[in-house]
Amino acid sequence: MLEVNGLVKRFGGFTAVNNVSFRVDQGEILGLIGPNGSGKSTIFNMLSGTLAPTSGSILFAGHEIAGLAPHRIINSGIGRTFQIPRPFRRLSIFENVALAGFYGQGRPSRVRAEEAAERSLAMVGLPTDRHASVDGLGAAGLKKLELAKALATAPKLLLADESLGGLDEAEMDQAADMLRNIRDELGITIIWVEHIMGVLMRVVDRVMVLDHGEKISEGLPSAVAGDPRVIEVYLGTDAETTQAAAAEARRRAGG
């Protein structure tokens, strides 16, 4: 579904992403993890067109999309959320999502856009009331709104920049379940970016680990969590989480 080859992004003399290649198969949830500044968000920004790659190719459904304008990429079937929610506060919750339903799907009729908005809001569990204001939403609600906006664009591939930091444990689990539901019920392929490993490891099919802009490991969650290079990267910062995740992944693989 998505095939990335030799992706490079330089900002002046700084190489944010260095020669990263990977592929995502239809119906899969790929986890993308790495410490802060490892290049995860830069990769996302290139996949969604916010940044143009310095070099490399991004094939989506057989078409080269590297360097295309964001709205073209969104219209070709890639939806994205932002790590820090970016709602439009001058629009109601419903209008936020209807906007994405209209422009994200290449401007179908208004009725179809509004139907898409209702479906997406129901999927993430937000009210479908037309006038409810964004100001009434808390941190978790804003993340749901981000997700609803992305879903309304009818993506085949969802780029979920789901920093779960700031959410409590129940909310994290809920967010993880929601991503799995989106895949299971809507058949949407997902790339999930996160820097906390624990929750992610339970949901994803495969994991790719980045450090300093390079891919250092890739594979099943159980294998990756046991990879010494990954443990080294996370050691000192998040070692306990890594080991807990590894244990859990092993349990899951065994059971």
Partner: protein, 339 residues
């Protein structure tokens, strides 16, 4: 969207406005009304962009092009304003695209966008002044009186005809305002005005949407300039073009209310009445005073009444325009289960 009551109110008001010149014939008052209607249309055209944070100080340029191109084509080539006006609008539209495209493509926003448009205003003014052999320069320009068909020349002597034309143009502006307000394009432009990247991630072609509204706004402003020229039969660079005219548009739209359809109209009533009062009360001693008053009022309004007179008034009258409380609480509850 529009309730029966509101539609009835609009209908009644409009019928009264149409009937007015047949009942009340004082030429001076009708003249003031025609000016208010034409300028209302110009301010409405400006606010199409302005309400989405696209603050242009270049609209004096579009208005000047509308007025001068129409008059020049008539005097030099004998082209009827029926052709001249569309040509002038196309000219203003092309200029809007030439200036707008690089601005939007390379993300020149906020203060920098204002500065670019300010330069546009200045350039058009300079061109009109510099080509004085054709345009009469700062002394002004008069379209030739027709000796033939008045309809073809779009020249009428009676105020009633002009009042009805101005009313029609004004109504057209209000209708377009509502059309944009109820379109999906409004969502897109509101989104763009808040966060261009997030709007693009929702699938919006940011450059194209901004260009479209800019084009629409420029075309309408040029039409306002041309109609003003045909009515007054005398134009100077200072009255239809340049930075002063642009500033006046900003002032009127903000004072009246940027986010309501009749806001710019309220702004026009205030600016025209102010200018006339100063002119009659103080005569030539008060030349330029209106600009001073505009400046002071603009600062006061931006600080204390950013929604303008009409906008604030409507908010007062209808507090339920805000999000209803019950919905707000419901949203919070659904968004944060367990709290």
């Amino acid at each position: 969207m529009m309730g029966q009551g509101r539609l009835a109110a609009w209908g009644t008001g409009l019928a009264a406005l149409i009937a007015l010149p047949f009942v009340y014939r004082d030429p001076y008052h009708l003249h003031i009304l025609v000016l208010i209607l034409i300028w209302s249309f110009a301010y409405t055209s400006w606010s199409m962009m302005g309400r989405f944070g696209l603050v242009s100080l270049g609209h004096g340029g579009f208005m000047g092009i509308g007025a001068y191109v129409t008059a020049l084509l008539w005097n030099h080539l004998g082209l009827s304003p029926w052709i001249g006006i569309p040509v002038s609008m196309v000219a203003a539209g092309i200029l809007a695209l030439i200036v707008g495209y690089p601005c939007f493509r390379f993300r020149i926003t906020g203060h920098y966008f204002v500065l670019v448009t300010l330069a546009l205003s200045g350039i058009v003014l300079q061109v009109i002044t510099a080509t004085r052999d054709y345009t009469g320069g700062s002394l002004g320009y008069t379209p030739n009186r027709t000796s033939g068909n008045k309809l073809l020349a779009l020249q009428f002597d009676d105020k009633t005809t002009w009042y009805l034309i101005a009313l029609g143009i004004w109504l057209f502006g209000i209708v377009v305002w509502h059309w944009v307000d109820r379109s999906m394009a409004r969502y897109a432009l509101e989104a763009i005005s808040e966060d261009e990247d997030a709007a693009a991630a929702a699938g919006v072609d940011v450059t194209a949407e901004k260009l479209k509204i800019t084009l629409l706004s420029a075309l309408m402003t040029a039409l306002a300039g041309a109609i003003y020229c045909q009515y007054q039969m005398f134009i100077t660079p200072d009255t239809v073009s340049g930075i002063a005219v642009s500033l006046q548009m900003v002032f009127a739209a903000i004072v009246g209310g940027l986010f309501v359809s009749l806001g710019p109209t309220v702004g026009a009533i205030i600016t025209i009445l102010l200018a006339e009062t100063l002119r009659i009360g103080f005569g030539t001693r008060a030349v330029g005073w209106d600009n001073l008053v505009y400046g002071v009022l603009l600062v006061l309004f931006i600080i204390f009444l950013p929604k303008g007179i009409l906008g604030s008034l409507l908010d007062r009258l209808k507090p339920q325009r805000k999000v209803p409380r019950a919905h707000e609480q419901e949203a919070v509850q659904i968004a944060r289960p367990g709290t």
